[in-house]
Every structure is written in structure tokens, then in C-alpha cells.
Symmetry: C2
Amino acid sequence: MKISVVKNILEANQRIAEENRRRFSESQIMAINLMSSPGAGKTSLLERTIRSLKEEFLVGVVEGDIQSTFDAERISQTGVPVVQINTGGACHLDSNMVQEALGRLDFRNLDLLFIENVGNLVCPAEFNLGEDFKVMILSVAEGDDKPLKYPLMFRESSVLLINKIDLLPFCDCDPALIEDRALKINPRLIIFRISCRSGEGLEQWTDWLRRQFRRTPASAA
Amino acid sequence: MKISVVKNILEANQRIAEENRRRFSESQIMAINLMSSPGAGKTSLLERTIRSLKEEFLVGVVEGDIQSTFDAERISQTGVPVVQINTGGACHLDSNMVQEALGRLDFRNLDLLFIENVGNLVCPAEFNLGEDFKVMILSVAEGDDKPLKYPLMFRESSVLLINKIDLLPFCDCDPALIEDRALKINPRLIIFRISCRSGEGLEQWTDWLRRQFRRTPASAA
């Protein structure tokens, strides 16, 4: 009984995710679903990424939080359109919440859409939103055992950003071990070491985004 | 429909939590439900706490993980009995999983039981396990906005441990702001600033545990 309820929820989610994906594709929008534990640096990454790309691309953000508009206010300082989703307790975004949020965005003026998920290393990985890429952030302060303990998100993601590398001298964390363990779970995972505080490594990440944008079939049209 | 399913799950959980609570009370066991984001330091805290208390108390641990036995192996190095729960994907422990695990512990040789929950700042707060106290850990690397964004866990917890204070010089985090924001949500919250790496503040935490153990009605019998 419980299992069939979960199955129905995931099937309904997948159906609406496909609708979102079709809409993104029709409007030549590249959508990124950004996931991590609380406090790994999703919003800081977005601030940095938007500032570096907003002269080249029309960027928009869907901001997912359980409650509060704290992050949406931070993002709106960058000058790009932001739509807030409050999940009202739910620990992840689903495709239906995103679909409702899309109605509040001007698709004609959008190239790149970032969807910042709820801070949670578990549940968001189970819910497709219709994104082109899932990108996850892991802070080195969380430790190098995380791929072993939360493998699904590493398996589902296209990109792993190892953030806060400025803290490495003060943490018991070996980033090479994170990389080895993550690649064992997902050999195609693309990995960048970054620091949103110092800016280190961010150029490689934004260059990757630029290349993907050119490659997506929609934007090639 | 979806809401009534969730309601049924929470009611069933509460019923079994009460059974667990009764069993703890009958056996004069004090049970602590330990919760945090991934990598905030639950296992390191347990290692330190057990080493400091195991001469005075009979300690046991229930170790909750989605998969893997990594943390249980770390804890078993301290020489206390550990029972592993693998949730098989689920993002939190529930009272039924704990009840099954209790069958594998010798209640006659137990004073203090620590239940390490799955790393997740959201869902575990909704599921009572029958514990005497919920204790949460927040790492300063997660930032000082977390009480605003994940209020439920701050509301449900009796104790907040602000961990990794050795990283404060290198993080944009004001621990006084964490405390102010957390106390607005839960004015009775007891807060300790600690570092599981340097050991700072841990004596105040273990002293608190000692006092609670003496105070619980069961142990006073």
C-alpha cells in the first residue's frame, strides 16, 4: 500500500517533468536543477554564476525553500528575475511545484534557468523536474565519506561541484577521495573543485555551462 | 488523499514511538535522537561523547543510514554495542525501524542510548522515535541563516550543538546570530558551542547529559 502510493507519486511527477522539459525545449531554455545539503553553497554559487553570465545570457531563477524568501531576496540583488516556491514543509521540489512557478516567468526572455532545490542530500534526487542537468554541490566541510552514504544524488547528477576548497587546510577531508568515490558510483560525473568565497575554480564551471548551452539541441536551432 | 496518507503515517509513527518510550522508561534508559544535515558531525560527536561517558554509563548506539555501515564501524571502535539500521532509501528514521533495532540490544545493560538519525535537516524532525530528547547539530560551515530556513528542527529539539567552531575564523557565520534566530523559534532551546575536532565545549555538553540522566524519573527510581 505504502509502496504503491510512492510509485504513483513518482509516476505523476515524471509525467509533469516531461511537460516541463518539452516547454524548456520549445523555448530553447537550458534548465539546471541545483541540489545539495543545507549550507553547501547553492545560493552563493548562483550569485557568482549569475554575475559572471548575465551579460551573455538571459538568466532566471526558481528558488525552492521550505519557508522564507531569504535566498530569493539575495538572488534578486543580482538583477535577474526570481520566482519563489515555498514547499510548506516538503523536503524537496517536485515537477508540479516547478510547473506552477514557470507560469510566473517570461519564457521569451530566458536562456538559462536555475532551479535551486531545498537543501537536502536525499529526497530531491528522486524527483525529476524536467531539467537538462542535475548539478550537486558538496562542501568539503561535510567530509569525504558522503558519496558512500548518499549515493543516489551522486548517481543522478551530471556535475559535482566540490565547494569551500578554501577550508581544506582546516578540515579532515580529502577531495581526491570524494572524487574517487563519486566516480565509482557515476563514472560520467563531471567534477569541479571550487570556492564561492575566493572564486577559485568558478571559471571552469561557467565555461562548462557555456559549452552545454551551445550544445543543447534547442539552442542549436 | 495525499494529506490523509501522510496523516496516517504520522499517527502510526506516533503510536509506535509511545511504545518505544514506554520500553525505555521501564528499563531506565535515557534515549537521545541525534539529528543534523549530512556532515555536520553527528558521528564525531558520538565518538567523543562515548569516550567521555563510557566509564560512568552503559552506552549503546542505534546507527541510521540510508545504506552502508561506515558510521557503525566507526562507533564500534569505541567498544560500545551498535545496531545498524539501513533505511533503504528513506530519508529519516521512523519509530518502527527503531523498534525493530531495539530487539537487537540488551536492555539490561543500557543506561544511555544514542540514536543517530539520517543526515537531513528536514524530515527527521517530523518523526518521533520515543526518545527523551531530540538533539540537533549545526555546523558553522552551514551558515547562520539555517534557523530561518529549516525552523521545524530547531523547534522540535531540546539541545542545539553549534559544531566546528574552530572553523569560525574562515567562515562567514556569526554564531550569536544562529543563537538569536534559534531562540526566537524555540526559547527553551539549550545551546552549546562545540568543536569535535579540538574538543572545545564538549565538557559542558557531557555535563548536561549527566544532569539529565540523574533527572529522568526512571533513573531516579
